[in-house]
Amino acid sequence: MDFKADLRDLRFQLFDWLPMDELLATGGFGDWDRESLGMTLDEAYKIAQERLGPGNEEGDRTEAQLADGQVTLPESSHDGYRTVAEGGWIGCANSPEYSGLGMPHTVGTAATDLFAGANLSVTLVFLLTRGVGEIIERHGTDELRALFCERLYTGHWSGTMCLTEPHAGSDVGASTARAEPLGNGRYQVSGEKIFITFGEHDLTDNIVHAVLARLPDAPSGTRGLSLFVIPKVRVQADGSLGEPNDVRCASIEHKLGIHGSPTCSILFGSEGGCEGYLLGEPHGGMRVMFEMMNSARIEVGIQGTAVAAAAHQAALAYARERVQSRRWSDGRDADPVAIVEHPDVRRMLFTSDAFVQAMRALALKTSYCLDRSHVEEGEAAERYAAYVDILTPICKAWCSDWGFRVTEWCLQVYGGYGYSKDYPAEQYLRDIKITSIYEGTNGIQALDLVGRKLRRQADAVRQLLGEAAGTARGLASDPTLGPSARKLGQALEVLGRVLTETPGKDDGPLRLVLNAVPILDMLGHVLGGHHLLEQARIAGDRVREIVAAKGLEDGDADAYRELLQSDADAAFLHNKVQAAVHFAHRVLPQVEALAAPIEAGETAAIDAVL
């Protein structure tokens, strides 16, 4: 099955919905303009289809192999990696000083949407490599920057992030890996890290690990963790490779999905010979690691979106071809039709589509705010940074959770064939599951949101919800979108009540931690509904323009149907409006249902004996 993407929607969201011109006009992105950015999307899609997609199934079936401490990946993974690295995609949004290409993160995100949809496993190594390059660029000494940044951004070497230890997962502060100064500015590091994505592989000559470890005088907990850069092979002053660095892959995990991505246990310094460089301040490792994690969390939201989008495209193609059963409204002897004609199948496909569009909007908007926070100054920069702060956990958790459900609905479209390995639906479902778990489980994301972000960034939350309220008001009397806008208004009212009243209740803190995930979902639903309605407004105007340009009579249903059949762009825009209506009527009312137990103070899960 060839990888397919809705490039039209990506373009619409990037260039017709997000104020891309405003972003480019800030001058923070060199020569990049609409035309050249549009061209990058075409090229990314070609690479996704021709070089990443073909290896997706092979990576799943052959899995990464470990022998004598070396992990090998199939040739198709090498081919995909090489093509992406040589094209400059790994450092596409990074600093040109180190051979990055300096384009907006927002467009880099769109490229990741295509790459991750085609082959999630291989795409993970791009994220990690870019992430390690970025923290070295921001916090490294001149020596470190010169040694590593360019080699990472160009994909000559890859990166990892090493936090988790056998007894320190979500509780990172329990880490025990140790680091001792060697006196020459370097440190000897020892310890075991587990669940290290692309911790060992044969795609590159060297692997640059970012490792949390404790210095001898370190306080306990996360405040005593320092960050070290540890190359698998030691690097000489001129950047050439030296001796191996006592970094060993002890085992790889056998997992539910992303089999093409090796998840490794790495032993650092088991023979006392592992040298690393301190990155940032002593005991300041967690803060730096959080920078990498925050960008990674946005990317995980994109991964959820991307895999769900790929699953939807595959299911849609299948439903258009698979002929089974007559149309429900036809007579007994009628011929069977393609299953896409059956209302229940349409519902599953279109709910999937609406969620994918809403997830894509959230991921792109988060990246857009990130770009603005980098290129604006003063109050504007702070405001966009606050938006990123609040949107990051929602993007990560909402897109990955609902992305998983999309893959489930899409598998259901195939019936029994969806459950078989002959079709890609089951791989999408297995692969996407990790996105709700890694980079901080979605439970952790929700606690971060209700415990920290909602309080610290209360103004930003008010502004974001205020924008949504503006959309609801602005469209309230629109003949097509009015009822949907009112659903958004109602959902906003309930959400506002829960956010303002819950903390003040006697058991407010308990209600918040118990309901962190439902609260995050409420916010995700409301933002999704808001973004889709904004897009529907633009799309609806365009459709009216097309109708007028073609000289169709207003209200001539037959001519309009004919237009949708013959004009692919009109059909796309029409569907944008339908997606907003669908989402507003089927998802936004769930906000009230999610609020009910919170407002009632229901705590049965706490009171139960488990």
Partner: protein, 262 residues
């Protein structure tokens, strides 16, 4: 070495085509366009020859404003500059009129070699390159699957029927029309896409090429499109049912008794 590559922007193979209101061509509104597939291979071949010989690659197209996107893509993968014959006077030209305009560009540029695809994906006449060579008085090879350029001549492998190839040595300058599959076209790198913006795209009018407007475009054409239509749906098709063995037996039977071709 200066290599000209003639490319054409054609409707994307996935575009849904419909006859235009006049019925003489397709409705070009709202359909995606792409570089003709064969021409992509010609671009790649030119760039790799230029990389080896240190030459220059100039892409040339005849087409309206939208065709500039095709030129930009060629520049993004590595062509050095572009010539765009976008003037209204060139519109509606047949192979003859198009070849004449291209020949004028070739004379002006003094190319050592012209590469192009063997035929276009839209009208598919496969004659523009041949006409161009004859107008220039240059040797020419069609359906080329292998090309080696050295010392003022080219070793050319042509695809023949029945899996056979023909090996020719032709003198330069020449027109070589390549076949899809001759190489593996590269992707545009992000750096290439950035640089493409700064590369020259020269728009040349018939006057710039010392041509009279009556020699190019519809006015200079010898061929007229009378009508374009979607083929009518066939009738009388039979769908054979059963498993593969049964269907094969029925088919052979029908080929013997009904079609009488066996």
């Amino acid at each position: 070495m200066k290599i000209g590559v003639c490319i054409k922007q054609v409707p994307d193979t996935e575009a849904r085509l419909r006859p235009s209101a006049s019925g003489q061509w397709i409705d070009e509104e709202e359909i995606p366009f792409a570089i003709n597939e064969g021409d992509e291979y010609a671009i790649e071949e030119a760039i790799s020859i230029a990389e080896q010989t240190g030459g220059e690659v100039v892409v040339v197209t005849v087409g309206p404003e939208r065709a500039r996107e095709a030129l930009r893509k060629a520049l993004a993968v590595g062509a050095h500059r572009a010539v765009h014959l976008a003037d209204e006077a060139y519109a509606g030209g047949d192979c003859w009129a198009t070849a004449r305009a291209l020949a004028a560009v070739a004379n002006r540029e003094s190319f050592d070699l012209i590469l192009t695809g063997s035929q276009s994906a839209d009208v598919g006449f496969g004659t523009t390159g041949t006409l161009l060579a004859s107008m220039l008085g240059w040797p020419h090879a069609w359906l080329v699957v292998g090309l080696e350029v050295a010392d003022g001549s080219a070793k050319v492998t042509r695809e023949m029927e029945a899996g056979k190839n023909e090996l020719l040595q032709i003198g330069l300058p020449a027109v070589v029309e390549v076949q899809a599959g001759i190489n593996k076209p590269r992707y545009a790198s992000l750096k290439g896409i950035m640089q493409a913006k700064r590369k020259e795209v020269a728009e040349l009018s018939p006057a710039d090429l010392e041509l009279d407007p009556s020699q190019v475009g519809a006015a200079g054409s010898r061929l007229e499109f009378l009508s374009v239509s979607v083929p009518p749906k066939g009738e009388g098709a039979q769908i054979l049912e059963g498993d593969t063995a049964e269907v094969a037996t029925q088919l052979v039977d029908k080929l013997r008794t009904e079609a009488r071709v066996l």
